[in-house]
């Protein structure tokens, strides 16, 4: 089996396997395990893992201030820097926070993305031209997925709360404002799956991406797609007892778990996949979410020359001092008319 097949099929089989496990588990009447034990375990692993990883990063110091300076640095007072410059090359920590906000909320760096192709000249190959053009699709796809996912998660708060906070209801109303189907279709749920399918398709069909992609890239994609699809199926097609689901969710949230009877298997499949996602998160590339906050090329100001950065492990190094040079070349230096420290 070739590299791509191995790295694509193994995660695919793994996700299908996970679905089967939940399905069989419920068939074997293990509702308590899949509805209570595993969710608690997953949440525990998620937070413990998250904290562990964050601490592990934080324990390694930042020896040098190395922001990628993507615009004019603050220098002479009359050299103009517009808002974009100040955000792309922040002069202090406040602007650096602005840069981070833009990066995290709007994916600033991806927005910059370009594509390059070699336009080949048939008769005179040396006249072939590299063309660079702005390419926003990845930015758009990534932004669509992340925001849709965020809203989907926020909407789920309504299952865990009683009474449901007003803003959650409002969010759901806005999300479902296009009413063309009963029950109301939430745009974000669909958008999330579509965006994920785009992200998956580009991995499979762009040769370079396919070449660099690992099982660790396909697994989370396939997992979240499955979560999205089971969610959609459950809401619109194979309906489950929503009151019972809420009872279970509120029970989990209030630490008084109950397992109401009569919730369809598809719900347990959905929940189990979510649990796997939670437990997998801290050990995977999904840690890019908290990780980006730590990135020294983005979260530091470009103020090295007027604001001293201290390296906690700075140590003295061996070097040749001036006298080493003079001692070696004194006579020649005197002859060349160069001033010296010692005449002899």
């Amino acid at each position: 089996m070739d590299f791509f097949k191995r790295h694509f099929l193994v995660p695919l089989i793994a996700v299908l396997g996970l679905i089967a496990i939940a399905y069989l588990g419920v068939a074997a009447n293990l509702q308590f395990v899949f509805g209570v034990v595993i969710p608690y375990l997953a949440v525990l692993i998620f937070f413990e893992g998250l904290i562990y990883r964050a601490i592990s990063w934080a324990r390694s110091p930042v020896p040098f201030k190395i922001p990628s300076t993507c615009a004019q640095v603050k220098s002479l007072p009359w050299i103009k820097r517009d808002l974009a410059d100040k955000l792309d090359n922040p002069e202090n920590k406040w602007w650096a926070m602005g840069r981070m906000a833009l990066e995290i909320l709007a994916f600033r760096s991806l927005f910059r993305n370009t594509r390059t192709t070699l336009l080949r000249h048939q008769e005179k190959p040396e006249d072939s031209r590299l063309i660079h053009w702005s390419y926003k699709w990845l930015w758009l796809g990534a932004l669509a997925f992340h925001y849709a996912f965020l809203i989907v998660i926020l909407r789920h708060i309504r299952f865990f709360t009683q009474p449901v906070p007003h803003w959650v209801t409002a969010l759901a109303e806005v999300d479902g404002f296009v009413q063309f189907y009963i029950p109301t279709v939430y745009i974000t749920g669909v958008l999330m799956v579509v965006a994920l399918l785009y992200l998956l398709a580009r991995r499979i069909y762009t040769p370079t991406l396919r070449y660099i992609s690992l099982a660790a890239d396909y697994f989370p994609l396939l997992l979240i797609i499955s979560i999205g699809i089971t969610g959609i199926l459950m809401r619109y097609f194979y309906k489950v007892d929503i009151a019972a689901v809420k009872q279970l969710a509120v029970g989990l949230a209030t630490l008084k778990p109950v397992v109401p009877a009569g919730i369809g298997s598809i719900f347990y499949v959905h929940l189990f996949l979510v649990c796997v996602l939670f437990a997998y998160f801290p050990f995977s590339k999904l840690m890019h979410a908290p990780g980006v906050f730590f990135s020294p090329t983005r979260n530091l100001p470009g103020d090295n020359r007027w604001n001293l950065h201290v390296n906690p492990w700075n140590y003295p190094v061996k070097f040749h001092d001036y006298m080493h040079q003079e001692d070696e070349y004194r006579e020649a230096m005197i002859e060349a008319g160069l001033p010296v420290e010692k005449e002899k």
């Binding site: 110091p61 020896p63 615009a71 050299i79 590299l130 660099i212 990780g291 020359r305 390296n311």
Partner: protein
């Protein structure tokens, strides 16, 4: 040495991905793509471990017996000291945004030159020895054993990276290949693997004072010669004080500027400018190198070479330091120098003696960039220039990767250019190839040797291609830059891809245009080329 193919041959780039996965694909070390192994004498001069004679083409690289432990120990050590490394190993999602941003990938089509995959070459070993998933799942988790083939692959691809950071600009998490490349090269050095070109420069600089290995007396000869050239062409005496105690300013330049054309014209420009201002400055035979090839191979070696600048400023009792046009020198100055040595209390906060401007952005570093210094002079109307003296030049400006993405100097040189060039003589290259998106010269970071011309020309292709575009569209004939490595490497690159293109420093253009009160009639520029309007006079003279 393999013969360099023609541009028409070299540009037949194959972007098709190999059928074999990268984890199983053994690197083929092609002559023309790598720099020779470092000679033992250079390693001994700087106390580098395991000096020995070996060749890259050898099957056996004569690694020390415990090389594997050393590399893994070195990796662990760096993971603990550099948050950047740990983070950049952990959070890449392989989104591919960086893939076609690297000039080496665009030039070679080699998948391992996509920054993401170059990083994976290191990450795969990290996963295998430091992550549970990698230990358990091996290849499926993108992990692999550390073998001597892996070491060869690191050597090959970490020296096909010029630490230019273009990929880091586009990365949604700011993952910086440059950081990983330097640390990876440190790991290679720890088992005695170094490239000759970089090590020779480092050792010479460490021992004598500059990469070119000039003795103090040779240094004096060279700067005096360039001062005489100034006098011959302009009639102006431009003395260059050396090792002068008590001068106000220590002036530090990359050695390329006094060593060879076309950098030497920039150096002549410095001297003319300082003469014009009657600046109280000195150069130094000890801090005779602003450039820092040491940093290309390790943080520590960078610090060992950089030490000389502040040391000499202290000995000569100057007030502050002025730095010439150099890319990586300024990246080192900006990113590391204050942190390595600060706080610096023996120098004063820099103030321009001509305009009284206090350089608020250098109060800790106490070192000013010549472009900042000159731009400030123009802003205050302190320089009388005749832009027509640059009328024979049509210019485009190459943002050097280091000053662009490791510092953020974009406007000062452009401001100066607009002061010294006639209107309509300055043209920008396409927007996706300049400023923070600028393309590297392809030969930086210690690989500007002679034996790896193929990769240098391929790596420089994206830069050259954009230059060619403005050359054909606007008749641009000069490529301006504020980087000595550019001035050393771009002439070769242009000769190959865009003949008729000259490389020039910005201070050279300033000096061309500078009007002295007691100058002799100027009919040529600093390169002895006739100024616009004097072409005939020159021909007549030639006929006599």
């Amino acid at each position: 040495m393999a013969k360099l193919p023609t541009p028409a041959e070299l540009i037949q780039i194959n972007y098709q991905m190999p059928s074999k996965g990268w984890l199983d694909l053994k690197a083929e070390l092609r002559p023309g793509y790598y720099v020779n192994a470092a000679a033992p004498k250079w390693m001994q001069m700087i106390d580098y471990p395991f000096p020995r004679s070996w060749n890259v083409a050898d099957e056996d690289w004569q690694l020390p017996e415990d090389w594997k432990e050393r590399v893994l120990q070195g990796m662990e050590d760096r993971l603990q000291r550099f948050r950047s490394l740990k983070l950049f190993f952990d959070i890449c999602v392989r989104c591919g945004a960086c893939a076609d941003k690297c000039h080496f990938f665009l030039g070679t089509g080699d998948p391992k030159n996509m920054p993401v995959l170059r990083a994976e070459l290191l990450r795969s070993v990290y996963r295998r020895y430091f992550k549970t998933a990698g230990k358990l799942l091996g290849e499926l988790a993108g992990a692999r054993d550390l073998t001597d083939d892996v070491i060869k692959e690191w050597f090959y691809y970490l020296y096909q990276c010029t630490i230019c950071r273009r990929c880091s600009v586009f990365c949604p998490y700011g993952i910086d290949m440059a950081e990983m490349t330097i640390l990876g090269r440190e790991l290679l050095s720890s088992v005695g693997i170094n490239i000759d070109w970089a090590l020779a420069s480092v050792a010479q600089c460490y021992d004598k004072g500059s990469h070119i290995g000039a003795t103090p007396q040779a240094f004096k000869d060279m700067v005096d010669f360039l001062a005489e050239e100034n006098e011959r062409i302009t009639g102006i005496t431009t003395p260059c004080p050396v090792n002068k105690k008590g001068a106000e300013i220590l002036f530090v330049v990359p050695s390329g500027d006094y060593f060879a054309d076309p950098g030497s014209y920039t150096f002549m420009g410095y001297l003319l400018l300082f003469k014009y201002l009657d600046l109280d400055f000195t150069m130094s035979t000890y801090a005779a190198e602003g450039g820092n090839f040491g940093w290309f191979i390790s943080h520590e070696m960078g610090k060992r070479l950089n030490a000389k600048i502040y040391e000499e400023a202290k000995r000569l009792k100057v007030k502050w330091i002025l730095g010439g046009e150099c890319g990586h020198m300024w990246r080192v100055c900006n990113q590391y120098m204050p942190t390595w040595w600060g706080p610096i209390d023996f120098l004063e906060e820099p103030v321009s003696p001509i305009t009284g401007t206090k350089f608020e952005n250098a109060t800790v570093h106490k070192m000013v960039h010549i472009s900042e210094f000159t731009a400030d002079l123009f802003k205050h109307g302190k320089l009388k220039v005749d832009p027509q003296r640059n009328a024979h030049i049509k210019l485009t400006f190459h943002d050097s990767c280091n000053t662009a993405r490791g510092m953020g100097i974009f406007e000062e040189p452009r401001y100066i250019i607009n002061q010294v060039m006639p209107e309509g003589h300055f043209f920008e290259m396409p927007p996706n190839t300049i400023r923070e998106k600028t393309f590297c010269c392809g030969s930086s970071s210690g690989i500007n040797a002679n034996e790896n011309m193929d990769i240098r020309m391929l790596g420089g292709l994206p830069r050259a291609n954009a230059v060619k575009y403005v050359h054909e569209k606007y008749g641009v004939n000069h490529l301006g830059c504020i980087c000595a490595l550019d001035r050393a490497t771009l002439p070769t690159l242009m000769q190959y891809w865009v003949p008729e293109m000259e490389i020039t420093g910005i201070t050279e253009l300033v000096a061309n245009a500078l009007v002295f009160e007691d100058e002799i009639e100027r009919t040529t520029d600093l390169r002895d080329r006739p100024l616009a309007g004097f072409e005939e006079a020159d021909e007549e003279e030639g006929a006599e």
